[in-house]
């Protein structure tokens, strides 16, 4: 490590506002960890995640770099939630996957009752891999299903079939893990009935957690270019909105709780790991592009897998960006990201946790949006209304 502050050492507790007494979780050592695995079979046309496709040759170097990065922790950090995402972690061959799990479990031993999630591509969920994951103590599989519709899967350039999803779900259930499915809507030429069908099949699949994402066109992806050239027609805003509302209605009617803008869970099945992000908790992270919040220091690793490997191999920091957050910034983050959760923010607890009153951070903006019916203040909580939910990105800038 040359210049960057040491990313993984627990940061000293710095209280920058002596008059306040924040009881804010990032000041405690994190109990959550994210590990990024940047490998995929190929790159889907809409995807702008940090990953490399067709570079399995880099896997050993990556594992070595990851180990080097984690050695900076100096000592293992027991965690309550562990999340291995990507990319496609299950794209690793069985040996590499085993090595990965060994490294991760050494540095982040799960505490009792820990939640341990691994993201998987339905096509990769094979008995040997499942055996491995089960043995490692994985409690939850997050399957990148996206859809059950063959045309839609083809448009999305996914390499699995609806059959693969079913098989994967079966196998995971046999091994006893919880299942989370990701679904995408508003894909070019998708109709409301295709989407409704996807939702119904997802409900019937037995998954206990569903995430629904409207397709976005990110700069730099082939989809963005194709849309720009007029080769892809993005769904009309009205249709996208209708699909989003359909998801909310269908899934809540089926017994899921809509607990975050795009996340739904059966009772007791929320993603505890993701809740850490939205409630302002701290988290460790490792791997290319991974972002961590330790104490009041937020850092992101370099997004290029090769640069990440090279930096660690030559004894340099993998960190590309770092920012120290003041108590007020931490409080604002907590306000903004906390409001993504549908139950909203407990107005009485908020000052105890952050040292700031909501009104002192964003009083006029909050009142304005309450008047407009986009936010509601009720029973001691501040939360998004259904109307606010669908246009929430227009609200955040004013709360910042």
């Amino acid at each position: 490590m040359k210049t960057e502050p040491d990313p993984l050492k627990p940061a000293a507790v710095v209280d920058e506002s002596p008059n306040r007494s924040p009881d804010f979780s990032p000041h405690l050592p994190p109990r959550a960890t994210y590990i990024h695995v940047p490998f995929c079979a190929h790159r889907c046309g809409y995807c702008n995640f940090t990953l490399v496709a067709d570079r399995e040759d880099l896997i050993p170097a990556y594992l070595h770099a990851l180990e080097t990065e984690l050695q900076l922790l100096e000592q293992p950090r027991p965690v309550d939630t562990l999340y291995i995402g990507g990319g496609t972690p299950t794209w690793l061959d069985v040996d590499s996957l085993q090595q990965l799990l060994q490294i991760v479990l050494h540095w982040f031993p799960p505490r009792r009752q820990a939640e341990f999630t691994v993201e998987a591509n339905p096509a990769d969920v094979t008995p040997p891999r499942m055996a491995l994951l089960t043995e490692a103590g994985v409690t939850r599989l997050s399957l990148g299903a996206q859809s059950f519709d063959p045309t839609k899967l083809r448009t999305l350039e996914r390499d699995h079939t609806a059959g693969d999803i079913q098989r994967a779900v079966q196998l995971v259930r046999q091994h006893g893990q919880q299942i989370a499915l990701d679904l995408i809507f508003a894909v070019p030429s998708e109709t409301q009935s295709v989407w409704q069908d996807d939702l119904d099949r997802a409900v019937r699949s037995g998954a206990s957690h569903l995430s629904t994402y409207g397709l976005t066109y990110e700069k730099g992806t082939p989809f963005w270019t194709r849309r720009y050239k007029g080769q892809l027609r993005a769904a009309a805003e009205e249709d996208e909105l209708a699909m989003y509302l359909t998801a909310i209605d269908t899934l809540t009617a089926a017994g899921f709780e809509h607990y975050e803008i795009s996340n739904f869970a059966r009772p007791g099945c929320k993603s505890r790991h993701n809740e850490v992000y939205w409630t302002g908790g701290g988290y460790y992270a490792a791997g290319p592009g991974a972002a961590r919040l330790v104490g009041n220091l937020r850092q992101s690793n370099h997004r290029s897998t090769t640069t990440y490997i090279r930096r660690l191999a030559s004894g340099d920091s993998p960190v590309a960006e770092a920012e120290r957050l003041s108590a007020e910034e931490l409080a604002r983050e907590r306000l903004l990201f906390g409001l993504r959760r549908l139950e909203g923010i407990d107005e009485a607890q908020f000052p105890q946790q952050t040292g700031f009153q909501i009104d002192e951070l964003a009083g006029p903006a909050v009142r304005h949006y309450v008047d407009q019916g986009l936010l509601a203040r009720q029973d001691g909580r501040l939360r998004l209304t259904r109307q606010g939910l669908v246009v929430s990105d227009s609200i955040w800038p004013d709360l910042l």
Binding site: I261, A285, A291, R298, R340, V390, V391, L400
Partner: protein, 600 residues
């Protein structure tokens, strides 16, 4: 005492980019005024904006010494800007000189400002030395250009000097001709002091630096002087020459050019065109200069109303160094408190705005530029209109007049047709065509100034593949069928978006403006109607539909800092918008009214 015989005062004038400042470099070098080491390209263009744009904005004076045929001479050179907006600087400079070098690019030949500047020098009765510059260019047409100079301006082609300011070839002959052909100043050393103030600038520490040309008598350090116009009396703390930096000396005498520092901290005391004389028994004031003519006006408002005073200070500071720029407070319902500012032209406007942004921290909203109009009202008043907001209701107007300019286009003969079409489409009145040479013509039209400043220059360039140039001078105010076109956003008239235009263009302009606004204004949570209207008659309408969905699906650990950056940027953007009703209008939208509605 220096004998007047050994002084020469001259300006370098030319069309833009014909090499004035580069020739000045060669003179500085040849006369040893500047050390070889210190010499930079276009050394006199030392303002950051001049260097960034590669053009001269402000005229600069330099004193040089040169030995010619065994005799030492003092040469006072003024390098002038070539752009039409700064013609005022040229005429001020000419008034301090006995001669002018008229530079013509050996490839481009005689251009619109060549003609304009030649005439200006003739009006001042100066000895004009035509010089073809850039003879080193591979495509130089030196002989042809000499012919053009003869045909269009009446100089004998055989007398035209030739040089390359780049290589230095012929520059010594030019300098010799300055001494041999330009007459020395006339003036009387024994007369009472009479000196012309031809420029000034403000130095934070030393106060006003006054640039003078001494006509009669002399002026000494420590002496008391009087500015005749204001009657204010000051001690001369320092005086001297520009070489090109200020170099103090003991005195300036008749025929010389230099500067005065009198610890003047009050701006009102120094007027360009004023006369400096002795306190007792003063000389007569010199004729002075015409007021600069502001051709365009626009509103400048602080994005954040809190910065009004800061903006005023920044404008004041600029006005000190640039008397051709003026400003007055004004208010707008949409934009709040700001200033109506007058400029010599669009380039001048752009430069002032850029300097404001660089030299102060105030974030600005600019309204679209407009020219000045005159209105006679039914009840016999005569109004001068600097902003569309001041146009009275149609029923109160007896006569509506706009400024008309005489425009001279210089272009290769092949493009006469397209240029005439441009002018006809803009309701121009044809005046005449002259041939400068068999292949080059000057076409003259009378056109509304409003048409000229908005886009005529760009249109000319594209109609002539870049070969056409133009110059214009104000003819006066003439009646026209003008209307005020109002823009309504969400049903509210936005005063800062009103424009004045010809009735025949109103529909087209109105449609173009609302269409452009539709692109500039973000969607809101409600529908926003955009209308263009004359009086109560709506002539164009667009609608911005309500925002129905705006929600980021994914937001996990890795997304947080990216999202925050995005939202912070959006918030900054929003802060700089102006709200009308509850519609946020971005700053750029206030320029939407420049949209002309496509080809015409």
């Amino acid at each position: 005492m220096l004998d007047l015989k050994y002084i020469r005062n001259f300006s370098i004038v030319a069309h833009i980019d014909h090499g004035k400042s580069t020739l000045a470099d060669r003179f500085l070098q040849l006369t040893g005024t500047v050390d070889q080491r210190e010499l930079t390209e276009q050394m006199l263009d030392d303002m950051a904006l001049e260097r960034a744009r590669g053009i001269t904005i402000k005229a600069r004076a330099v004193t040089m010494h040169y030995e010619h045929q065994g005799q030492m001479y003092e040469l006072n050179l003024i390098d002038t800007p070539g752009h039409v907006d700064f013609h005022y600087e040229v005429s001020r400079s000419l008034a301090c000189c006995e001669g002018a070098l008229l530079l013509v690019d050996a490839f481009q030949g005689v251009e619109a400002q060549t003609v304009a500047n030649a005439y200006a020098a003739m009006e001042h009765n100066l000895e004009i030395l035509p010089v073809v510059n850039k003879i080193d260019l591979t495509h130089a047409r030196t002989d042809e250009v000499c012919e053009e100079i003869e045909q269009s301006l009446g100089f004998d082609a055989a007398d035209v000097l030739r040089c390359s300011a780049k290589s230095g070839a012929g520059v010594d002959q030019v300098l010799a001709a300055v001494i041999d052909r330009i007459p020395p100043p006339e003036g009387d050393l024994r007369e009472r002091l009479q000196a012309m103030v031809f420029d000034s600038h403000y130095d934070e520490y030393r106060g006003a630096i006054t640039y003078i040309r001494v006509i009669n008598g002399s002026i000494r350090k420590g002496q008391k002087i009087k500015f005749l116009r204001t009657g204010s009396v000051h001690d001369v703390l320092e005086l001297g020459h520009f070489r090109p930096r200020r170099q103090p000396s003991q005195q300036l005498q008749a025929g010389q050019v230099g500067y005065l520092i009198c610890n003047i901290k009050e701006l009102g005391h120094v007027h360009i065109g004023d006369t400096v004389s002795t306190v007792e028994d003063s000389a007569l004031p010199l004729p002075g200069y015409e007021e600069p003519k502001r051709m365009v006006y626009c509103g400048l408002y602080p994005s954040d109303g809190e910065n009004f005073e800061e903006l005023r200070e920044a404008l004041q500071k600029l006005a000190i160094n640039d008397p051709s720029f003026e400003f007055q407070p004004e208010t707008s319902d949409a934009l709040g408190f700001g200033f109506r500012c007058g400029f010599l032209g669009l380039l001048h406007m752009e430069i002032i705005q850029q300097r404001l942004e660089q030299e102060s921290d105030v974030d600005l909203v600019q309204t679209a530029p407009n020219v000045t109009y005159e209105v006679d009202t039914q009840d016999g008043r005569r109004l001068t209109i600097h902003t569309p907001q001041d146009v009275p209701d149609a029923g109160e107007i007896e006569e509506f007049r706009q400024p008309v300019v005489r425009v001279s286009f210089v272009l290769p003969g092949d493009y006469i047709g397209p240029v005439m079409k441009l002018c006809e489409d803009r309701r121009g009145k044809y005046v005449r065509t002259e041939y400068l040479s068999p292949a080059r013509a000057m076409v003259v039209y009378d056109l509304a100034l409003a048409e000229v400043i908005y886009d005529l220059y760009d249109k000319l360039k594209s109609a002539t593949k870049g070969f056409g140039t133009m110059d214009y001078e104000l003819l006066g105010y003439f009646p026209a069928d003008l209307v005020r076109l109002d823009i309504l956003v969400g049903g509210n008239r936005v005063d800062a978006l009103s424009i004045i235009c010809d009735r025949a263009d109103a529909d087209r302009r109105g449609r173009a403006v609302v269409k452009k606004l539709r692109k500039e204004i973000n969607r809101h949570m409600f529908e926003v109607a955009l209308q263009a209207a004359i009086g109560s008659r709506v002539i164009a309408r667009e609608t911005i539909s309500a925002l129905r969905k705006n929600v980021t699906a994914k937001c996990y650990g890795g997304d947080i800092s990216r999202k925050k950056k995005l939202w912070a940027k959006q918030r900054e953007g929003k802060k700089r918008m102006k709200s009308v009703g509850s519609v946020d209008i971005p700053q750029k939208a206030f320029l939407a009214v420049l949209e002309s509605g496509g080809e015409k």
